[in-house]
């Protein structure tokens, strides 16, 4: 079973709640995904439409809340959002995101490390979103991150795992759980991540923009379970040469003369 900090999760699929067409579809998709951890963001109340509240849309008895610091461009902004998130949610769990450039939304490794250090000192359970950098993952683990969340590809791109080599190193080295985050666009990507040995995946856009988000959530649930099962079963070795699955003796066919011995 997956365990992060002091909490166990029977589902290895984490779900983001952004970009859904309605909070009702979001709630149904979260339910269909079987996820026990959802991410949320903090924003100013829309004073024109103050009734819109996501907290009432989710069953918080069943689901852990993981507030993110999206929108933070440096460590100071992320720390401020962390304080607000803790006040608003009562949880000290935090998905730390520091993205200085809105065009790429790639995380700032220097300020992410700084903010992690500070927030761990303040008692937060920090899950930093990072580029797939194995050394950074080790540094974050060293200063007390509860997990690391390397990106598969940039946020919202649905491009799947473009960082395979680095993620494999992170997984091989990490003592904390590795949650593959961002860019996972199809159930096959999620299954691949789990087969590689990721501890969990976080998916948002792929569900929210799917033709039918609820069915897609079901598909991701099955894919994550299949991928994890395969990882635990132990995948067979890859080989450059063919090796017959059927016996090579007792063939009923004659030799072909154009095949070289």
């Amino acid at each position: 079973m997956l365990s992060i900090a002091d909490t166990s999760f029977s589902s290895r699929l984490f779900v983001g709640t952004g970009k859904f067409a309605s909070s009702s579809i979001m709630r149904q998709a979260v339910e269909a995904s079987g996820s026990e951890m959802v991410t949320v963001a903090l924003r100013r109340v829309d004073l024109e439409n103050p009734a819109d509240d996501i907290m009432t849309a989710l069953d918080l008895n069943k689901i852990h809340f993981l507030p993110n610091t999206s929108g933070a461009r440096n460590a100071a902004e992320a720390i401020r959002l962390a304080h607000l998130a803790r006040a608003a949610s009562g949880t000290s769990w935090l998905k730390l995101e520091v993205t200085p450039d809105p065009r790429t939304l790639l995380p700032d490794p220097v300020d992410t490390l700084k903010a992690t250090e500070e927030l761990v000192r303040e008692g937060f359970t920090v899950l930093p979103y990072i580029n797939a950098d194995p050394i950074l993952a080790l540094r974050l683990q060293d200063v007390g991150a509860a997990a690391v969340m390397p990106l598969a590809s940039p946020i919202g791109t649905n491009q799947g795992i473009r960082t395979t080599m680095q993620v494999e190193i992170i997984i091989a080295q990490a003592r904390v759980p590795v949650v593959l985050d961002a860019g996972i666009g199809a159930p096959s990507h999620a299954a691949q991540a789990m087969e590689m040995g990721a501890d969990a995946v976080l998916v948002n856009t792929a569900l929210a923009v799917a033709g039918d988000p609820v069915r897609m959530a079901r598909a991701f649930k099955a894919a994550v379970e299949a991928g994890r099962e395969a990882f635990e079963a132990g995948l067979g070795r890859q080989s450059k040469t063919a090796s017959a699955s059927s016996p090579l003796s007792g063939m009923v066919t004659a030799d072909l003369n154009f095949i070289q011995a």
Binding site: L42, V45, A51, L84
Partner: protein, 78 residues
Amino acid sequence: MYHRPTLNHIIKMQIILNGQQKNLDHNITLSALLDSLNLQPDTVVVEINGRIIKPGQDPLPELKDGDKVELIRFVGGG
């Protein structure tokens, strides 16, 4: 008996609410401000001049002229 209105009843005060100037009656409480916006106190977190206040837990202060007030809540996000 006639009471002369005090200045407090006439002069409005100005706060910055979520980045926008807003005119309010003098000495309105945070609680009354949330009420006027139809906001359930336990669904928001408030920052007044950088200090975090959690309605539903912390006592709600009166607002003063020039206060910078941020009303923040959770929204969908990844």
